[in-house]
Symmetry: C2
């Protein structure tokens, strides 16, 4: 998506350690009018697929998920992050290993909000390893719902996220696909 690539080039800040900060418009400060355009694009990509609910993960997925959901006219459900112990029985839970924070955490949703009749679109801001999205997909499968697909804003194509998700039978749509990036040369898109 051209609009997004231009914005990343303009406002994204790359630092050592393969870090791309887009906190001026996507995941700390949120340019809501801009995110609405991304939401419309997700709706175009998944138009007519019968999505009944959008699933995302706190905290940085919530904004883009809500602004996207209004074009699908469906509710959003966000998975909460927690410790891996002390999971109650009225939730579905799944584990994620975070390479960024070098620890495992759990993602949970209340059972009552994921139903076998649901057709889920999973939305998140970044696709890198795909671990977080895979954990969300596992919640859906435990609940017996269909996963229509995955929509991520920015994909690092040189990491294994897409392959991991596609190997698990998931359709993946990303709005900007980064081929490579470096502090010296900036971002190059696919």
């Amino acid at each position: 998506m051209k609009l997004l690539e231009e914005r990343i080039k303009k406002d994204g800040i790359i630092s050592e350690g393969d870090i791309l900060s887009v906190s001026s418009f996507l995941n700390h400060q949120m340019d809501v009018e801009f995110l609405c355009e991304l939401g419309k694009e997700f709706e175009r990509l998944y138009h007519g697929e019968g999505v009944t609910k959008i699933l995302t993960i706190e905290a940085s997925g919530i904004g883009i998920a809500c602004l996207t959901a209004q074009y699908f006219k469906v509710p959003v459900l966000f998975a909460k992050k927690g410790r891996t112990d002390n999971i109650s029985t009225d939730v579905y839970a799944s584990r994620v290993y975070s390479y960024t924070h070098k620890r495992e955490y759990s993602v949970v949703v209340s059972k009552e909000f994921l139903r076998p009749e649901d057709k889920i679109l999973i939305i998140d801001d970044f696709l890198a390893t795909g671990n977080a999205v895979l954990a969300l997909a596992e919640l859906c499968r435990t609940a017996g719902c269909e996963i229509v697909g995955v929509g991520t804003v920015i994909e690092k194509t040189y990491q294994l996220g897409r392959k991991t998700l596609e190997d698990n039978g998931l359709r993946v749509e990303s709005l900007a696909r980064i081929k490579k990036m470096s502090v010296e040369n900036g971002v190059e898109f696919c």
Copy 2:
């Protein structure tokens, strides 16, 4: 706001310990079309006040803040919760005591996104003690911005939140004001 009061009566679940769960439409699963109506109401209440940015707190404030922001045509900034140690120098930080979790945590925002020229509207889902909102207000004051006011979805008027905030010079608008509630008798609004 009648629409919200009716929704709370219909879908809110009260449990012992003064707990009102609205997780089916407000802060776990989010009824986005409904939340847009709340967003329009916040815009009506603060129309013409020159709001330049909406400030909220992760995670449950983000959805309502983003859906509200589109009617103001302004960005959202969400404060991140963290530990009270190890605060970096490029953020504004403030402390909150959570009575629910019986511990202190910090709220932080990047300095670059709160500017003296900003006119801030603070949005959150619940107003009870007012501690979280007060911490957000402190961030704004440290940054030297003007706070136009506070918008909360559900206010427990029998707690001290409104008084605390008004004593701090803040205008407070809540869309539903609970006078009292109990498991036996349900919710009564002001």
